[in-house]
């Protein structure tokens, strides 16, 4: 994948920038140019506004992947999930920092910034969101992103984004 092709999506992949329909209020991720929910799509063209997704959500479905996608070979077995965010959109991403056997539908998770994959030894490194479990009962809010609030025992994991 070319650098430009990945770079142009960074506002979405790094910061969860979605969009919200000014007519019906439905939130989308990734952002959409028109609202599929509204009956008159054309009228929503100018009304789709940027909207920040929090990244908080619950596992809607999940799988433990053993035959990896390209660039994920070193991570098997890994958990891939559909996460329903509190704003509504479902995101596809990995669940990390948890034993695969501990993942279940309904697990509370939040998005975190991680390395996704690299294109060989000399290629581009792709970053984006993965999800980590939220301890229950809910612990006090901690700053999100780049390793903040993560246990020291997990330092140095291969998917940890370089600070």
């Amino acid at each position: 994948m070319s650098i430009a092709r990945f770079w142009r999506e960074t506002p979405r992949r790094y910061n969860l920038g979605g969009s919200r329909c000014g007519r019906c209020g439905t939130v989308y991720f990734p952002p959409r140019a028109v609202c599929p929910t509204c009956p008159h799509h054309r009228e929503t063209l100018a009304q789709m506004a940027p909207f920040q997704i929090s990244g908080e959500g619950t596992v809607f479905s999940y799988t433990v992947v053993h035959e990896a996608a390209e660039g994920f070979e070193m991570q098997v077995p890994y958990v891939l999930a559909l996460v329903r965010t509190i704003e509504g959109p479902i995101l596809t991403g990995q669940i990390v920092d948890i034993e695969p056997s501990a993942v279940g539908i309904g697990l509370k998770v939040r998005a975190t910034f991680r390395k996704l994959r690299e294109e060989g030894k000399a290629g581009v490194i792709h970053y984006g969101y993965k999800f980590t479990p939220v301890p229950e009962p809910e612990s006090p809010a901690v700053p999100r992103g780049r390793g903040a609030g993560t246990p020291a025992s997990e330092a140095g994991r291969s998917d940890r984004a370089a600070a």
């Binding site: 799988t63 992947v65 053993h66 596809t92 539908i105 994959r117």
Partner: protein
């Protein structure tokens, strides 16, 4: 709109055809279909070729004129078109051919489907197939085609109590059916224990829940129903050819355990043909993964939502059932040459409706259905076919 009939069918063996090239298998299927239709290549008005990924798999784009050329048709300067819709490419090509004949623009068209999956390593072929999912928002985050179907499977289990044992019975069924199909990739029998014990691909799906990477080609000759008996003793009418689409990514669906594109295509097809699911005696359905077969049967309207797992476990879809599913062995056992699948499915239904399916003949088959899906259901195609008395 004219009534359209299938006049001839052709199909190569499916499997790892290491000694045969893409163009060889494409031509073999096409010429067999023309001979079956008692037509010479000079009678053909056009060619539609279903193919998913020759560019990625073979470094060869622009394949419709390639096949026409090596079939000896270059000098006739025919209109030839490649059609792509992931795993549904073949059925989409058939839809285009149907439109061309129904409109009256062309009289006789050849619809082909061909794919050569084994000229690259398995891992590469799987990556290429995963490009039929949403690359930017699924694959980049670690998804593969089987992983996305596994997400659907897990939710189906959660919502409806479907079990791995029930999923395994789909594979057992398909292999049992393929035992009587000399063109099938796999003709060996499987047990539930073997399916459950196979290596995991994306839990809850294992290796034997997934269809194989196969080479193969199939072809169909279409023509107007009027006058069809000059070409065949048993013309098969296309009662409906319907295509429907849905969101590219699984994550954008409100219900991930339903393929809304399949529901839409099936409802339109049954309405157009003035038929109901209960009229269908034999069906070739999308079963790329065992979970896919359950969604297919539910979304085509053969069983209520959540009912396909128990129905498979009860053996309802075998040779003696009211509805016989995948007499060819389906994608799971006959094989999965992606762009050829949709054409091969219809070829099998035609053989069944003509009464030419030999050992695997379904008795009393007069209405049949073929169902092809691209990716995780962004495209679904349903064809209803009927014997003409």
């Amino acid at each position: 709109m004219r009534e359209v009939a299938v006049l001839g069918v052709g199909q190569t063996k499916f499997g790892e055809l290491w000694d045969r090239s893409f163009r060889e298998i494409g031509i073999e299927a096409g010429l067999e279909a023309l001979v079956d239709a008692k037509l010479g290549s000079g009678d053909v008005n056009g060619l539609y070729l279903g193919n998913m990924a020759a560019g990625s798999l073979l470094s060869q784009e622009h394949i419709a004129p390639l096949i026409a050329d090596y079939a000896g048709l270059a000098g006739r300067h025919l209109p030839v078109v490649r059609v792509e819709g992931g795993g549904a490419s073949g059925a989409l090509a058939l839809h285009q051919g149907y439109l061309a004949v129904a409109s009256g623009l062309y009289d006789f068209v050849v619809v082909g489907g061909a794919e050569k999956m084994t000229d690259v390593a398995d891992a590469t072929a799987n990556q290429i197939a995963s490009a039929t999912a949403d690359h930017e928002w699924e694959v980049v985050f670690g998804a593969t085609l089987p992983a996305l179907w596994a997400l659907i499977a897990r939710r189906h289990m959660h919502d409806f109590g479907t079990t791995s044992d029930q999923l395994a019975r789909v594979a057992v069924h398909d292999h049992e059916m393929a035992g009587k199909n000399p063109l099938a990739h796999y003709r060996n029998r499987l047990t539930v224990e073997q399916v459950l014990g196979a290596g995991r691909v994306a839990e809850p799906l294992g290796m034997l829940d997934c269809s194989p990477l196969s080479d193969g080609a199939a072809a169909i000759v279409l023509g107007p129903l009027e006058g069809a008996r000059k070409h065949t003793d048993s013309p098969i009418r296309i009662a409906a050819s319907e295509v429907a689409s849905d969101t590219m990514a699984v994550q954008h669906r409100t219900e991930i355990t339903t393929l809304a594109s399949t529901v839409a295509a099936a409802q339109r097809a049954f309405a157009r043909a003035r038929r109901a699911p209960a009229d269908v005696r034999v069906a070739e359905i999308h079963d790329a993964y065992t979970i896919s077969a359950l969604l297919s049967l539910e979304d085509l309207g053969f069983v209520p939502k959540g009912g396909a797992g128990p129905a498979f476990a009860a053996g309802d879809f075998g040779p003696h059932g009211r509805l016989v599913v995948n007499p060819s062995g389906g994608l799971k056992a006959q094989g999965r040459p992606f762009g050829a699948v949709g054409v091969a499915q219809v070829a099998e239904i035609v053989r069944q409706l003509r009464g030419e399916a030999k050992e695997r003949q379904v008795s009393g088959a007069s209405v049949g259905l073929a169902h092809d899906v691209g990716g995780t259901g962004a495209t679904s195609v349903v064809h209803l076919l009927e014997r003409v008395n």
